[in-house]
Symmetry: C2
DNA sequence: TTAATAGTGTCTATGAGACAGTATCAA
DNA sequence: TTGATACTGTCTCATAGACACTATTAA
């Protein structure tokens, strides 16, 4: 976790009369690139004393008691250090904590899911020149090992995203505005891994009322489509049904 | 946070080269009592140095690096110290952390929602003789002040519960087994604050397949009802629709 | 028989999915 | 005109809600 605070202490703070766990914040940033769902990973430094040197991990690290006002501010700081994200949607995924997840001792992490468009994103390799890269979220098993318990965290993030895509407008936060309804439908289909009906998709999105028209967008040699923006970027819309309400009722 | 570790240190553990936040775990235990949703609260000790003396707070406290294997184990320990819960359903609610939420310094908490039947529950006042009590979850504003940011956490827990009740089998975890479908429906109606149709409720619950028959249960001077148990106590069932798919479409 | 609650059947409205058809652009 | 994509209409089917009806117990 490069860039974590090295200041020996902070202000006049009495040390606790008992051992404290480490507190970290990690971020799973999703985007859509090249027709596939991707997550951002950062390579662990090879500095002596750092665990899992050279392995890929989620961007994140220790809470800085002096710089971070709260958990969300910490998450934003961790992410903006790796990439110039302008406005991402943040949502808490959960907490992981225990004796064994970090070789340095008992630690707990607060994990955020972040969603952003990949268009204008530039990956910065930060001051410590760590490597940062997008990894396609495959269907089956993950690519190589990840540091700490980050493979489990990433899997949980993917599971949560897939589940919520069934009944929320989350994929809209993965697109650059303004976007068209066919683009949005493609985002849904990429994450769900299955095709959706065009007609019902459109009525569903428009009836939910979370989109605002933003002028038409020219296609390439075809009919232009209406562009849309998200009305409220702070919260996704929630649909009253999941997509596949239909079940295979085989006798 | 009574009962938190007072051991000066733990094993041979190097102190961190930077200031660490405090790490706590808090639990929002819900139950149904006297026809209303209740949450468990514990009174803060009046020991000198403890913040918010005498105020009500969520049961919880510092992670004990020596005793707690992970976050969930810590949550179970915090809860079983206050009440003899046999088997409660646990689910992570989220994390709260920041500079100002605890006057002692930067702290973060991992909050769990727990659901249990109130029938056999006996509230223990623990070794420190702290007071523990059920509080009805009112519709409007909360009762008195709560310690820390626990009023906001409790509000978030209620909001999460109300939201998930629309499309999950969570209320079943608030009942003692075996329970009947009318009892389950009453639990739903109490949390949702509105009546549900009997017929559609029954088909919905039975079709979801999360219930197992457990013999009939005699009523008092009326027709006995079928008793049910939860098939899988580790995870709730998820329905493909919310209850109120119907919207008021006034022109 | 009555009271009380458990459980079922029947009708209707809603909306998702299937899919055919129309609209609008460039070349 | 063709090709390509955007968008709409029409049909069907599943199911939630409304509500009337039947079932089973004790007194």
């Amino acid at each position: 976790m490069p860039g974590h605070p090295r200041t020996p202490s902070a202000k006049a703070r009495r040390p606790a009369p008992f051992a404290l766990p480490y507190t970290t914040v990690d971020v799973v940033l999703f985007t859509i690139r090249e027709g596939a769902l991707h997550a951002l990973l950062a390579r662990r430094p090879r500095t002596p004393g750092e665990p899992y040197p050279g392995l890929w991990a989620l961007p994140g690290g220790f809470v800085d008691v002096d710089r971070d006002e709260d958990l969300l501010a910490c998450a934003r700081r961790k992410l903006s250090g790796k990439t110039g994200v302008r406005s991402a949607y943040f949502e808490q995924l959960g907490g992981w904590g225990g004796r064994r997840r970090d070789p340095r001792g008992w630690s707990s992490t607060h994990v955020y899911i972040a969603l952003a468009a990949s268009d204008g994103l530039e990956l910065r390799s930060g001051g410590n020149a760590e490597e940062v890269a997008w990894f396609a979220v495959g269907e089956g098993g993950q690519r190589g090992r990840l540091a700490f318990d980050h493979a489990a965290i990433l899997a949980a993030a993917i599971e949560r995203l897939r589940a919520k895509v069934e009944y929320t407008s989350l994929p809209a936060f993965l697109l650059a505005e303004p976007f068209t309804l066919p683009q949005l439908q493609r985002a849904y289909e990429i994450i769900l891994g299955r095709a959706l009906d065009k007609s019902s998709f459109r009525t569903r999105m428009l009836d939910a009322g979370f989109l605002a028209e933003a002028g038409s967008i020219d296609g390439e040699g075809n009919r232009p489509a209406m562009g849309y923006r998200i009305r409220d970027r702070d919260a996704p819309a929630i649909f009253p049904r999941t997509f596949r309400a239909r079940e295979d009722s085989s006798p």
